[in-house]
Symmetry: C2
Subunit: 318 residues, 2 copies
Amino acid sequence: MDEFELVSTFFDRPQGERSWVKTGIGDDGAVLKLVPGTESVVVTDTLVCGVHFFSTQAPCSVGHRALAVNLSDIAAMGAKAQWSTLNLTLPNLESTWIAQFADGLLSLADRYDVALIGGDTTQGPLSVTMTVGGYVNPGEALYRSGARVGDLVYVSGCLGGAAAALQRGEGQPADALREALWFPEPRLSLANKLRGIAHSAVDISDGLLADLTHVLKASGSLGADIESGCVPLFDIACEQIGRDRALELALTGGDDYELCFTAAPQSRKAISAVAASLDLPLTCIGRVTSSGGCRVTGLSKALEETELGYRHSWDVDT
Amino acid sequence: MDEFELVSTFFDRPQGERSWVKTGIGDDGAVLKLVPGTESVVVTDTLVCGVHFFSTQAPCSVGHRALAVNLSDIAAMGAKAQWSTLNLTLPNLESTWIAQFADGLLSLADRYDVALIGGDTTQGPLSVTMTVGGYVNPGEALYRSGARVGDLVYVSGCLGGAAAALQRGEGQPADALREALWFPEPRLSLANKLRGIAHSAVDISDGLLADLTHVLKASGSLGADIESGCVPLFDIACEQIGRDRALELALTGGDDYELCFTAAPQSRKAISAVAASLDLPLTCIGRVTSSGGCRVTGLSKALEETELGYRHSWDVDT
């Protein structure tokens, strides 16, 4: 049983009379119609030491990531972030560690004007949970379920950087790959400009193919043709681990916290304008089709022979 | 440095222009004025295995408590609960454990009509974080800061049961003490009836004297005279561990999740009516004074000689 089966088996019960739960479990965030005129969005993520970050990782990066992964989910919903809570479980009170952790977290919070309104500190094995609340205008949330046949598939930024940094192990130099792993930038500014343009969105936390598969399934068992040659990679990753491995990690690595979104072909110009205004690459990597899951084309012979070449419909690993 | 110093030193920064954060860090929950006509309340708590519950504890009780301790905070704010998120960190996927955990959590959620709208499951040392959102009508939230000189001090239910059960250790019989520890009842129904009556409220999670001290400090360095003979104890605790120890645990033990609230003397009759309507003891245990922290009167000679007898102003242990 994986995470998704666990949640759907034990926790995802029908909401019955609760028409105010517009979207519950299953998207990047929940959408609640609590009061007329606005929709609330709530997201939450936990980072466990040794699983989601190294014990030797800079504390400011742990604080940054704890908030960033949540803001990334807010962005994937096309929402604006307002408030956050912090649950910090610490084995002991090392005030230097905590001060640096707080700096990383609160710097990012300040940058996106997110209030830290409460939380809980407990004693135990190091882990961090944050919950973030935000809002969208009614009807403007971006869902995984909105993709349409013929949509173009776009991704922001470059992919596979965090996974490449992880593959190199600890003690990495402070280059673009470590930056991608330690200080991912939540794409809130992008989300803000995609409303009215994108039909669907997801953040790439589980890996491009896994997350795009979520979108295709939620949109009615659609498919997608992805041209591997279009997937934006980090030059430094190609140099250090080779293009094939860099591509494989970009397709399957996860922890990218870029947005993958779909939009009608006639939005191409508007998307170019958004990319230019944000100075952020937005790359078309393929197209939504009527069925068949993700198909990746243009793979090298070596990659064709890996799992990538054999599996046309992607199961989600967790 | 204790939990409170940690939070105030590193995380409690001024909210600046954010007038919508009516109450941030420092009460049982945060109160947000996000939209006109209502105030949102957000609370969050983490339970760590080995710290807040036993690894041998019934999973349904862990699920119940994870939600109950949060609903208790919602009650202490005088609010109504609406939604919850669950962050579950598990060392492995034991589906029997998870099924029972989910039953305990969702039974309580159903009872108070709280929607589980999302969450995160991760691999790691067993711990549970829940975040709960609710609302109050504007101006109706109950704060720690509302106590007034001359107010009567009330507590709901009986105190010290959870601490007595903990003192007995694991493998306890299914009696009233174990019930208090394993299945605390959040006092949402009480909170619902205290609006307009209580001036301040807090839930007794850190121990009566510690939590009442929070209230007195927040209300402007007030004091309180507590008559120890009035503190409601579990008969079975007095039988099993003696009245002095039962009283000591009721004053300092914590994990009670009852409400301690203050109200004007002229509300005495209304409070009796609330107690009768809910079939829940609401006991007056003392009175708010103008200064001096908590003073406990009527202690036995033995208890007078413990820390209880010596310390008139209570520091908060965490």
